[in-house]
């Protein structure tokens, strides 16, 4: 196993210190700590617990033309992640123990991050019959997060049963909140811009109505609910109310919903087409404030790579989704840290500690302290770079922040005691080191 001495890093943005990593463990943290085979100069860098993404589309099996477990997890490491939850909308759908174990094994085989498969709630994401949730939970993949993401579990009785059923193995249902009848043919946020552009609207109420229903259901049956990609100010109000009532609900926001608005759709460039859609500036402000005050618990990427042709076309036929793994942390820095809304310690909570807790990833999201598993991300907050999708590690070129100046960069990622990224580059030598 490798050993590293990280010199002069600032854990959670605090005072500089040294961190010794040996055999996959943080063996010592302190200003006088020394030793280690390889020194990582971390002067000026922030040390965060390795980032945990609760919402990643790795596309394999079935859409290897868009992304594979290998390319997606390399991109994840590059972006500072040490665990990703691979969404179930693959082909075949991850609705059996066999498929989730396949994805989990691929993750182990490549070894760039911990791949935690998400199991489908319903067979084939069809919203009709429960998938074998218990079998997926008991499989080698140890699934704890269940989601039909891409589709809303619309049937209220089915949603209720799913919420109840997963309690048996401490699972959580992650809902893609979208009332289907209110969003038929929807192309973008319904409001001033959609009215002008003549694009069918995706009204905020279609998200809010489902969240309202689901928090009431979760409260009624005493279950844990997670809300994917919260995008509207109204959703934030409902979540705030639910949490105030003691309902066990958590929520995520994507980097793009923290930064971008529906004004960008005026270009008709499908790179800005995403589900849920980009909302208004007031919504962006509301989700930022909610992330700051904890109403929204975490940032999750909803990384959704697509082949070029799926975006190099007219808006109306383009695929929905944006890449996010390699730009999430810079966007969070720009939108939340550089604006004074979050401290780095809070970033660690929103991007590592809380998502690991929601996903029940026990070994991650841990304190940076002696004796803890060695999953770390080193960030240079002073770095500025231009986002060039062609240079990204993901196969997806559909980055909505193309050409923008990124705030901060990931200098190193340590996963299970091994540097997956060093000097901002993937550590290809890692392939020779068994996990």
């Amino acid at each position: 196993m490798s050993s590293y001495l990280i010199k002069g890093a600032r854990p959670l943005g605090g005072d500089p210190t040294n961190i010794l990593i040996e055999d996959g463990v943080l063996t010592a943290v302190g200003t006088s700590v020394s030793g280690g085979a390889q020194v990582i100069d971390a002067d000026g860098l922030i040390a965060l617990p390795g980032l945990v993404d609760l919402h990643t589309h790795l596309r394999e099996p079935g859409r290897e033309d868009a992304e594979t477990v290998e390319t997606g997890t390399r991109a994840a490491a590059k972006g500072g992640w040490t665990a990703v939850h691979a969404m179930a909308n693959t082909d075949p759908v991850a609705d059996t123990a066999g498929v989730v174990e396949q994805v989990w094994r691929l993750g182990r085989q490549y070894g760039w991050v911990d791949v935690r498969p998400v199991g489908a709630v319903t067979i084939g994401l069809k919203g009709e019959r429960l998938a074998e949730l218990g079998a997926m939970a008991d499989s080698a993949a140890g699934v704890r997060v269940f989601s039909d993401d891409g589709h809303c579990v619309w049937d209220p009785t089915l949603m209720r049963r799913a919420l109840e059923y997963v309690k048996a193995f401490d699972g959580v249902v992650a809902q893609h909140a979208q009332e289907p009848r209110l969003t038929e043919g929807a192309q973008m946020h319904e409001g001033v811009v959609s009215a002008e552009l003549g694009l069918t609207g995706w009204p905020a109420v279609a998200e809010e109505a489902i969240i309202a229903r689901d928090v009431l259901l979760a409260g009624h049956v005493g279950s844990r609910l997670h809300v994917c990609h919260v995008s509207t100010a109204g959703s934030v109000e409902i979540l705030r109310w639910a949490k105030g009532r003691g309902i066990d609900v958590t929520a995520e926001v994507t980097p793009h919903h923290l930064l971008l608005t529906d004004e960008l759709v005026r270009s008709y460039d499908p790179v800005f087409k995403v589900n849920p859609p980009l909302r208004t500036a007031a919504d962006v402000q509301a989700v930022r404030e909610a992330l700051a005050d904890g109403t929204i618990d975490i940032v999750a990427t909803d990384h959704a790579p697509h082949p070029v042709e799926a975006k190099d076309c007219e808006w109306g036929v383009a695929a929905m989704g944006m890449t996010g793994l390699e730009t999430a942390l810079p966007i969070v820095q720009e939108a939340m840290v550089d604006t004074g809304l979050l401290t780095w310690a809070q970033v660690a909570d929103r991007m590592s500690v809380a998502p690991a807790r929601i996903g029940r990833v026990g070994s991650q999201g841990r304190p940076i302290a002696a004796g803890e598993p060695a999953h770390l991300t080193l960030v240079d907050p002073a770095a500025r770079w231009e986002c060039d999708p062609a240079a990204h590690t993901t196969m997806g070129r559909n980055s909505p922040v193309r050409g923008r100046t990124m705030h901060g960069s990931v200098v190193a990622t340590i996963y299970a005691g091994r540097a997956t990224v060093l000097d901002g580059k993937l550590n290809e030598a890692l392939l020779e080191v068994p996990l």
């Binding site: 694009l199 008709y268 076309c313």
Partner: protein, 320 residues
Amino acid sequence: MRHLLSTADLSRDEAISILDVAGQMAATQRREIKKLPTLRGRTVVNLFYEDSTRTRISFEAAAKRLSADVINFSAKGSSVSKGESLKDTALTLKAMGADAVVVRHPISGAPHRLANAGWIDGTVVNAGDGTHEHPTQALLDAYTLRSRLEQDAPGADLKGRRVAIVGDVLHSRVARSNVRLLTTLGAEVVLVAPPTLLPVGIGDWPCSTSYDLDDVVGGGHGDLDAVMMLRVQRERMNAAFFPSAREYSRRYGLDARRMAKLPEHALVMHPGPMNRGLEITAEAADSPRSTIVEQVANGVAVRMAVLYLLLSGQSEGEGA
């Protein structure tokens, strides 16, 4: 002006210069020899992803009377669901050396994409995109209004004129283009529709709205100079936009009774094709105040002006 994608891109002066040139073009069309040599050697492609014989014929006549070579490319039925088709077609047109592409497409923004995605070099003219815009229709409507109300005086705008646009605004590219163009030209616009057929977000549009056609034709928003009736599809009632065709025409149709409440000089307009008996009765459509046939004739002159200004590079200024 490189492309014509939206009337929102037109300044007042640019819009007036198009109307002025259209007036000159119309004059040439009253001569015995209608054909002008202006665009000889230039190629205009009519790229139609939707059936619209009248719009295509109008553009075709306009281009031919300017001596351009015209290629009609009917892509209807080709798989629009396969998104690459527009791009691939565009690359073909580029290879053919099209100077202008007149595009009609069921997807809002498709002409914008064609003009800006780097797929072609030529000029793009939006001949109607989804529920977004139909700029040449609005230009011919403005031209018709100006020729009737202002004797087509060169340089004139529509200041102080008031136009009601009635019907399915939500799904209407004609309404969107007209609101922008008519207000740019100084007219006031009142949109009249059942609330279901006005888009959420319309509050920012530079016009007023009403749910009450009787009030508007009776002068509730001031004396009208024209009423423009929009085509409404019967199928909309299946999606609960209105309960029945009968109730729609009772509340929002233009009939002789409502027409009688209009000021004497007020015009009755319709972009066509009409649903007689639904949004307009025969008495209204065929009355002397109806400009419906005239609108068709004016369409050729306006499209000649647009092609001429775009392709001969004599438009005022860049960046439109």
